[in-house]
Symmetry: C2
Subunit: 320 residues, 2 copies
Amino acid sequence: MSQYAIAVHGGAGAIPRTTMTTEKEVLFRRGLEDAINAGDSVLAAGGSALDAVEAAVRSLEDEPVYNAGRGAVFTNKGTIELDSSIMDGRNLMAGAVTGIKNIKNPVSLARTVMEKSEHVFLSGLGAMEFAEKMGLEFAPDEYFFIQERYDQLLVAKEYDRVVLDHGIAGNIVPVPPPSKKGTVGAVALDVHGNIAAATSTGGMTNKKFGRVGDSPVIGAGTYANNNTCAISCTGHGEFFIRSVVAYDISCLMEYKGMSLREACDFVVHKKLVTIGGEGGLVAIDRHGNIEMPFNSEGMYRAMKRSNGEKYVGIYLDQVR
Amino acid sequence: MSQYAIAVHGGAGAIPRTTMTTEKEVLFRRGLEDAINAGDSVLAAGGSALDAVEAAVRSLEDEPVYNAGRGAVFTNKGTIELDSSIMDGRNLMAGAVTGIKNIKNPVSLARTVMEKSEHVFLSGLGAMEFAEKMGLEFAPDEYFFIQERYDQLLVAKEYDRVVLDHGIAGNIVPVPPPSKKGTVGAVALDVHGNIAAATSTGGMTNKKFGRVGDSPVIGAGTYANNNTCAISCTGHGEFFIRSVVAYDISCLMEYKGMSLREACDFVVHKKLVTIGGEGGLVAIDRHGNIEMPFNSEGMYRAMKRSNGEKYVGIYLDQVR
């Protein structure tokens, strides 16, 4: 039987160890385990990489401790605005949504856009109208109300400043405890040799002006191409958009002949660092190589392979 | 004195010669001439490439025959929703907006996002709130009402189908006369050796569900990097997003050592054609090379250089 593998992330950023309690770490790790198991189950049954990344991201979206779906952070107006995207490495098909509300699993809406619309990218009320027409599952505001998230907004508003969810602005404002972590995503290789990627987020606490990050931007936050790699990013989205991070890694492999590792290292540890872009990503290629680089203090991440190899980590020193 | 140059486009697609009257062609050509002159004036005075592309795109946005700003096409709901983006090759700074209404010059809002916000990409009502705060010029619905555009919507709705502005779906539905042309954009090189790109559009006639095309997506519809090229795209946006067209050209130059022409040809005439992506783009590098490739029947395009060289064309056989 051919090999298969999945890798997920639950956000990158500064995650002060001093504020991480054992109880919280258990919750975060369980969320990651559930996600890789959800994806692994699909892959073990011969399912597609596309199905696997959707299942893994749905699992993280349902988990209140991660900033996507149910656990999304609040905008400046006290609302929840969700972004997501998905891409299929077989055929370069892609779907993305931004600025949507009350959709239980944004990644599934992104997939529906890919498969059932003539479009790639839908936004706002129009995207929700499409979701309703397609029978996507909606959830009431209460479903998305997590007290800790709301407290986080209050702190952020107090400083009248957009605070990055992961405390990238940690030197300026006291960042709330690390139980509100960012963007989630997954990449997978299936037994058929296909790869896929998906990303989902609630964006930044206290975000204003309909800010769109890199998560719904194909090429920036998400990219998949069987010939090169599948990538899902997390971090300071503005830098990831300007650097077209996900597609950059693909191009370094395709045009410059770099390996997945070389391309990931170059982009995350050199190019992004040069322009001040904090964050990381999970990456896979069709040979089953997995990379999970980040230039921040930590990144919630996990991977599992058909040969039984498994890894779950948060901090840099938790090297696999 | 160093050389400078500007190139603009006013959309690509099928432009049936049979429906093009002399009067209309004069209007289209005048719009292109005005745009290159607007950009050229900035550049001749030693202004920046960034100022030049903004000036050129503003000129096209103000022109009712082009599908951006005032001349934008109507959505399915009879509204006008505008997208734009801009990028500065000096420092990879970028700004973009999607789903905005009643903003006279979306490209200037994109630039304001780049320069006055912490963000790159703003959407919908939030973006308009930002515009108001920043003092951007608003215009009433009447300003954007062009009878011919509205008639175009009625025809499109009659067929209950999203018709591409440029008649890409021309084999399926009778496409209205070619006086409603697409996305506009500009690229420029200034005397300081810097390059920039900007794109602006009203999207597709009869568009639904808050559809976002490639125009506001950095890497897809717009990209600029002094080390490689500045690009503004036009065409079937979904394919341009999936192919990350603008950044792909940059990567082919940077990582594979292609010239601007080789990279443009490869992407527009090979890669896009393979996946069925109709359209074109304008491109410039810091040596002043200009390319204006398209794989459609025509592309409204023009260029002007500091040495006096000038070109305005619509059809393929109008080779410069």
